[in-house]
């Protein structure tokens, strides 16, 4: 069941689609059903974050978008970064613990373990879609909707998901054997957030810092999103190519790592 080839694995995933779909539903329910405000929390959390950053940066610290002067310009810039960053962290953070947190299940029932990361990714995407559609409604109402240009965000989202999923799989498998990885991911994400132009604007940095930050794959992805929503311009596809390459490498390596160690995992959990 474990060292199967890719087509067999896809078959197994298809066979367990019922389990995957219900798990996503349950994941969604359990997150919001038990709390009184329910799905409202899905919105309140990033809203609070955006509010804080908007207040602190655009009002208190008098940061202005150097090249866009619309009244909601900074908020839109911030949202396009914060919300997509949220998708990235959710996939990464849940993937690193996906096997450990499901130890109970893995030890007792024989099923294709590849279902677990799929559930994680799918439910993260679902959450993202909900909150992002709210953002789009906001854009339409404030007259900032980028029009057809919005379709160009689809490939960018795919690149981002692939990048996060590959990296998450690597961390997830490693975490079973080296529990330090889980802690490390938390620290890594903290630094990564501030080394990515989400809250601040890349162009406001000195040239040398600008250059360094472009080595950060997430900076390139964020730039694409911010371009679409804050400046209404097409992403620079060429600059995204190295990210695509990296995402493919991570996905392949994550998959190889998973196949090599899936059987051994049960012994360690």
């Amino acid at each position: 069941m474990i060292m199967v080839d890719v087509p067999d694995m896809l078959k197994a995933i298809y066979h367990y689609r019922g389990f995957i779909i219900s798990s996503i539903k349950r994941d969604f329910q359990s997150r919001y059903q038990t709390s009184m405000l329910g799905a409202l929390w899905l919105v309140l959390q990033p809203l609070a974050m955006i509010l804080v950053y908007t207040l602190v940066f655009s009002q208190v610290m008098k940061a202005r978008m150097p090249d866009n002067t619309g009244s909601f310009a900074y908020s839109i810039y911030l949202c396009s970064g914060v919300l997509t960053w949220g998708l990235f962290t959710e996939i990464l953070d849940k993937s690193q613990g996906v096997f450990i947190n499901n130890a109970n299940l893995i030890k007792k029932i024989n099923f294709p373990k590849i279902c677990l990361p799929i559930i994680v990714i799918a439910s993260a995407v679902l959450n993202f879609l909900i909150i992002f559609s709210l953002f789009i409604i906001f854009l339409i109402f404030t007259g900032n909707f980028p029009g057809w240009l919005i379709l160009s965000m689809i490939p960018v989202v795919f690149i981002q998901i692939a990048f996060a999923a590959g990296l998450g799989m690597i961390f997830g498998v490693m975490n079973v054997f080296f529990r330090d990885v889980g802690q490390f991911v938390g620290v890594l994400l903290q630094f990564w957030f501030w080394f990515t132009p989400i809250v601040y604007v890349l162009n406001s940095l000195p040239q040398w810092a600008h250059k360094i930050l472009m080595y950060n794959p997430l900076a390139r992805i964020m730039q694409a999103y911010q371009g679409i929503f804050a400046y209404h311009k097409m992403p620079d596809w060429i600059s995204l190519m190295p990210v695509v390459g990296l995402a493919i490498v991570f996905c392949i390596y994550g998959f190889v790592l998973f196949r090599r160690h899936a059987a051994e995992m049960v012994d360690e959990l």
């Binding site: 474990i2 019922g18 219900s22 349950r26 359990s30 007792k108 029932i109």
Partner: protein, 405 residues
């Protein structure tokens, strides 16, 4: 064709001296192994064919649970092959990997889907699962508020909602109360009648003997014995009783195999069943007064001697047993060479059938403490009913009848 074939299966866990050793193994290609292997199972071989019921017994740590994990496929064997065909339902340890934050109902759907049922099937099965588990309103409470017994009830109900080709159960059932145990064994028996192959891990002698056709004894990761449940259970008890494993032999007495074990400090020299005229007998009438004579030789000085016996029915279930500790006739400080004769006289208030007597010489009140000699199937006798009213069962308890109108 349903079957489980286990061929040359061994399982080792990797033991790393330091955590960094594993990291080095991962990062440096072609490096030599930096871990030791701890073998949990060694060269296990057995075949289970369609419709068979096999019990696996062994002390804690003998590798029973690991073996079941390999068979169900949750863990993978280091070497050897496991060939299994048929739809498997397994209950390993407690629960079914239930998620504690979800309700019982949600967990039923989740586990059910993992067992291969569809949502539609589960919708149909749900009322039956609920009523079999008998946990009432708890079905809609999160599993974290369940008692372990309730979890087992629910898990068993899900696992057996549809009759599987192969049912694998790991001790779990012993957690349930007597009522549920009866209920679940009834279901297992029903499945057996319909052709389900059963693999059961249990410490419960009665469960193994009454359900299984065959038992496998695991000891230190190896198959120590395989055969008739009663025989294997006796051997297992002897193994428990005699931790030093000084002398466990299997003797042939009356065409049946028997187990003999013990340290030999005291020895049974003669053993017999007699009627009131002191004539040795093999057939006993219902209600007849008989005497069990046990002649003992003390080989080495011992501080304490307790003599016990147990009468067992054809299935090996104890019907009656006692010893001189309970009879308050313990003998102390016996010198070597002393010869003793114990006469236990009792009325054979037994039902018609074949019975065996096991005799044990030991110190203190159980044979596990210090076991001088322990004989299973030491004597076999048959109870016949030439004079009393016909009745059924293993014991004779004649009633006085009064009918009021």
């Amino acid at each position: 064709m349903t079957h489980i074939y286990v061929t040359d299966v061994s399982k080792a866990y990797k033991i790393y001296q330091k955590k960094t050793d594993r990291l080095i193994e991962w990062l440096v290609p072609m490096i030599k192994r930096r871990h030791k292997q701890k073998w949990i199972l060694k060269n296990i071989n057995f075949k289970i064919n369609e419709g068979e019921a096999v019990g696996i017994i062994g002390v804690n740590g003998a590798g029973k649970s690991t073996l079941l994990k390999l068979i169900t496929g949750t863990a993978r064997a280091t070497t050897g092959t496991i060939d299994i065909s048929g739809r498997v339902a397994a209950m390993l340890e407690l629960g079914m990997g239930f998620h504690s934050d979800f309700t019982g109902r949600q967990n039923v759907y989740m586990s059910g889907q993992l067992l291969g049922y569809t949502i539609e099937q589960l919708n149909v099965l749900m009322p039956e699962i609920e009523s079999f588990a008998e946990i009432g309103d708890y079905i809609d409470q999160p599993v974290r508020v369940y008692s372990s017994g309730m979890q087992v009830r629910l898990a068993f109900s899900v696992a057996t909602a549809i009759r599987p080709d192969i049912l694998i159960i790991d001790e779990a059932l012993s957690v349930g109360d007597a009522y549920f145990q009866h209920k679940s064994f009834e279901r297992i028996r029903e499945f057996r009648r319909k052709g389900t192959t059963l693999l059961l891990v249990s410490h419960d002698k009665q469960a193994i003997q009454s359900i299984c056709d065959r038992a496998i004894l695991l000891s230190k990761g190896e198959v120590a014995m395989e055969g008739e449940p009663e025989l294997v259970m006796d051997y297992y008890n002897a193994l428990l009783a005699d931790k030093e494993k000084k002398s466990i032999k299997i003797n042939n007495a009356d065409g049946k195999k028997a187990t003999l074990s013990g340290t030999g400090e005291a020895r049974i020299s003669r053993l017999g069943l007699y009627n009131v005229e002191s004539v040795s007998i093999e057939n006993v009438q219902v209600g007849q007064v008989i005497t069990l004579k046990v002649a003992i030789e003390i080989e080495q000085p011992i501080e304490e001697l307790v003599v016990g016996y147990a009468i067992k029915d054809r299935l090996g279930q104890p019907v009656f047993g006692t010893n001189t500790h309970h009879l308050k006739r313990v003998l102390n400080n016996l010198p070597a060479g002393k010869i003793l004769e114990y006469n236990f006289e009792f009325p054979a208030n037994l039902g018609v059938g074949s019975y065996s007597i096991a005799v044990a010489l030991h110190s203190s009140d159980t044979h596990v403490a210090r076991n001088y000699e322990w004989r299973d199937l030491a004597l076999v006798f048959t109870v016949i009913n030439p004079s009393k009213q016909p009745f059924i069962g293993v014991s004779w308890m004649p009633p006085t009848l009064e009918i009021k109108e």
